[in-house]
């Protein structure tokens, strides 16, 4: 098993670490058959499941959605044709790579999914998705951290500057974003090390920072290109154009996902990853915003799949959002906060190529509170199904420690090509 220090050095991706990797492929884990990978991509703001995965075959859909409705028939107004999956569902026109995954049997969309919290506050819903309990304040740590705790020797990586709630907890987890192009004076680090050791609140995080970055961190070349250094408040024409260009080439998310894929593809890389994205709260002009954002998501899935190619067959990833949106459009060509949304399970290990879950319908009387999609899948059932079948976490650990109080909720079966015994 890899040691923590080795792992962190790997995160720094120093030349020495790269050389070591070539000489010492990760024999241990591969040999024991436990070398699987699991990534959560969280879309904050509330993705409209009805827009990403339009249920065009549902008789209520076109009527409630009006000008936002999408269909494989080329749909209304000027919108492009949605990508047909089956007689009921299609993918948004921007999700072309996702459609390829679906055709390869590596994408499983699950509509009408929600956390156990059915309120409409972003912040409460996100807390609930991340803490893995039935209430926003049900736990102070994240279920992904608790899952790592249940996997001996596994490391976690959050691609973010600060620790997201889902990854907070007893197990130290690496955080990573592309570093500033500044090399730190090693003497300064030497002097700071004992000082930070004296501050119990900061010491662990600082030690991890030193271990991962202190060895002369450099960015992988593939990532060095254009993290958009956007400064919207003080943007001049040049940076504005730079930002527009960066957006045009796919935005920030694909780069973060590529980084996650690069790290997780390493033989001794992190087995559990977390990436987050923002800007999914579409109260107005939803069609244009989601055209851009879903393209970004599609590019992100593709760059992750490419970067994680060596481990793709042993990988599952799940795309979640805190809630869905109203079935009806609002007065500003957008949608307000609703309940059930879509989750996407993807990866080489996934039994996809079909739409999962149960579709509750959106005709009169089928909506939750006459307003939202009635959720039929509890996120936790899917997470539990993946953690049990793909990562080998035992069901009793899942029911008591990872998702406390969820014993009555069965892990969802049938998500994977080959399920492992716990």
């Amino acid at each position: 098993m890899t040691t923590r220090r080795e792992f962190l050095r790997l995160m720094g991706y120093s030349a020495a670490a790269a050389a070591t990797l070539t000489l010492w492929p990760g024999i241990t884990r591969a040999a024991t058959g436990s070398d699987t990978r699991f990534l959560v991509l969280m879309l904050r703001g509330g993705l409209d499941g009805l827009h990403a995965l339009p249920p065009y075959g549902d008789p209520g859909y076109a009527q409630l959605r009006g000008p936002l409705a999408l269909s494989p028939a080329g749909s209304t107004a000027e919108a492009a044709a949605a990508l047909k999956l089956d007689g009921t569902f299609a993918l948004h026109p921007a999700l072309t790579f996702a459609q390829q995954l679906y055709q390869r049997g590596q994408l499983l969309p699950i509509p009408a999914a929600a956390p156990p919290y059915w309120g409409r506050s972003h912040f409460e819903a996100q807390d609930c998705v991340e803490n893995g309990t039935a209430t926003p304040d049900g736990a102070q740590t994240g279920w992904l951290n608790r899952a790592i705790a249940a996997l001996p020797g596994a490391e976690g990586l959050a691609v973010s500057t600060v620790m997201p709630l889902m990854m907070r907890g007893a197990v130290p987890v690496a955080t990573w974003t592309p570093p500033l192009p500044v090399r730190v004076n090693p003497i300064l680090l030497q002097r700071l090390e004992p000082l930070y050791a004296e501050d119990p609140r900061l010491a662990p995080a600082f030690a991890d920072a030193l271990a991962s970055q202190g060895g002369g961190a450099v960015m992988p070349d593939t990532m060095a290109a254009s993290m958009p250094g956007a400064m919207p408040l003080a943007m001049d024409g040049k940076t504005m154009r730079g930002k527009a260009k960066a957006m045009g080439s796919g935005g920030r998310l694909p780069q973060l996902m590529q980084a996650a894929g690069t790290f997780m593809a390493k033989a001794e890389g992190p087995r559990i990853g977390f990436v987050e994205d923002y800007g999914w709260d579409t109260h107005a002009n939803q069609a244009a915003i989601l055209m851009r954002k879903l393209k970004e998501l599609d590019n992100a899935l593709s760059s992750f799949a490419q970067a994680a190619q060596p481990v793709w067959a042993r990988t599952t990833l799940v795309v979640v959002t805190e809630f869905g949106r109203t079935a009806r459009i609002n007065g500003t060509n957008g949608t307000d906060h609703g309940t059930g949304s879509v989750m996407f399970v993807a990866g080489g290990a996934v039994a996809g190529g079909r739409v999962g879950g149960q579709w509750p319908g959106m005709r009169p009387g089928q909506l939750y509170q006459d307003r939202d999609i009635h959720a039929t899948t509890d996120f936790r059932a899917v997470f539990k199904g993946l953690l049990a079948g793909h990562m080998g976490v035992s069901e009793s650990t899942l029911a008591t420690r990872v998702f406390p109080g969820s014993a009555a909720l069965q892990p969802q079966g049938g998500l994977l090509r080959v399920a492992r015994a716990a």
């Binding site: 076109a62 209304t76 500057t161 600060v162 730190v184 930070y196 609140r201 995080a205 250094g229 709260d281």
Partner: protein
Amino acid sequence: MRAESRRRAASALNRLGLGARHGELEQLGDATSWALAQSRRPAADLGVFDGLPDSLDYLRKEARLMQQRRALKRDDAGQPVPSASVRSGKPVNSLARLYARMFGDDLRHEASARWQLAARTGTPFAERLVRFWSNHFAVSVDKGPARLYAAPMEREAIRPHLDGRFYDMLLAVEQHPAMLRYLDQAQSVGPDSPLAERVDRRLARRADGQPARKLGLNENLAREIMELHTLGVGAHYTQADVTQFARALTGWSLPFPRELEQGDVQRAFKFRPFAHEPGSVTVLGKVYDQRGEDQARAILADFAVHPATAQHLATELATHCVSDVPPSGLVRHMAQAYLDSGGMLPALYAAMLEHPATWAPDARKFRTPQDLLYAGMRAGGIDPGDKPQPWEGFSMRLGQPTFMPRSPAGYTDIASDWIAPDALWKRVQVSEALAERVPRSGLDPCALAADVLGPQLGAGTDLALRRAEAPEQAVALLLASPEFQWRV
């Protein structure tokens, strides 16, 4: 006694203020009176905003920009211009260029003014309160239509009301273009309003089978006012309350470009009776039968002095100024004082400042990235000048770009949200970059450390500073030291 007053002065400067400057600690006097005096005046701006357009000017310029853009799209004969330049073959991208030409200088001025004020202000507690409220009423420049108005909202809606009634600040914010656009209020239309009915009739006459783009409600602002700006997420209200309040808010909007061109516009807010949902609404069990704009005003006025709002504001301010988990006695005391005063902000501040928990030795906060930059500038005597780019760049890489929170909840100020390996690493990098900007003349890093950290300077850091091989390295060490990451 001397030690105790020194400790309080350091807390006043570092925890309540934006970070101590050279020499301030010794001259501060009584810490409570120092802070109290600042909380009873509008925040001084040192003239840094002079010459900046106000929101109405920005709206007018924006209308002109759109006009120019339309003109650019047509040639003299009224034919559309091809989208690529003939000479270079590159896209003209004219909107971006026009936007940069029209607003580039203003945006740089807005940004640098804020950094300058943080570095130069002599009333740093008032300035902290400004930024606290600005974050309480968070808007994000990520949302294009709101971008120009985020900084003006702080100047126009927050600063003038810092020492007044919360309701006045609340009203100024909710009627500001920044908030109306950020939370999609400007286009929300009452489903039974005259405007919606007229559009419905027009659509009914269309026989082309196109789906109708009906006008209607958008409940985003209503929900966030209740959840984030006033009552708080734990308060007892329902989806029906949100929808009813959203109905009352319909008609709260902005002047249209056409109205701006006609020139009879006095304010950057416009109430549109035609878009307002007629009839009374019931919110939190109370019936509001006012007409027009007054209906939502009346609801806001009640929200402003609701006990849940008092509790929410007191908790948030105490969490920001005292501790991640403020003592409940302190919060109760502040909330009560606020309610007793009828919703006056100086009463809320004074209740906090006079409570012993605010000055307890274990009270401390972790510096957010922007706090760290402010404190670094102030300690090092760095003036940001009129080029905001490096500062915006630092704060973006540290995870807290100006006016760009990821949600309407604003930036968190809780330690566990900011302490992570990658974040600490970037703090070390930024400390080195800041140290390079510290003026060298007369620089004595050891004295400076004692002067800005006061009793918080630990023996280990003191020793390391003495051993540093060059002043700039010592300054980097000071700014990157664990002590400097905290507001104690």
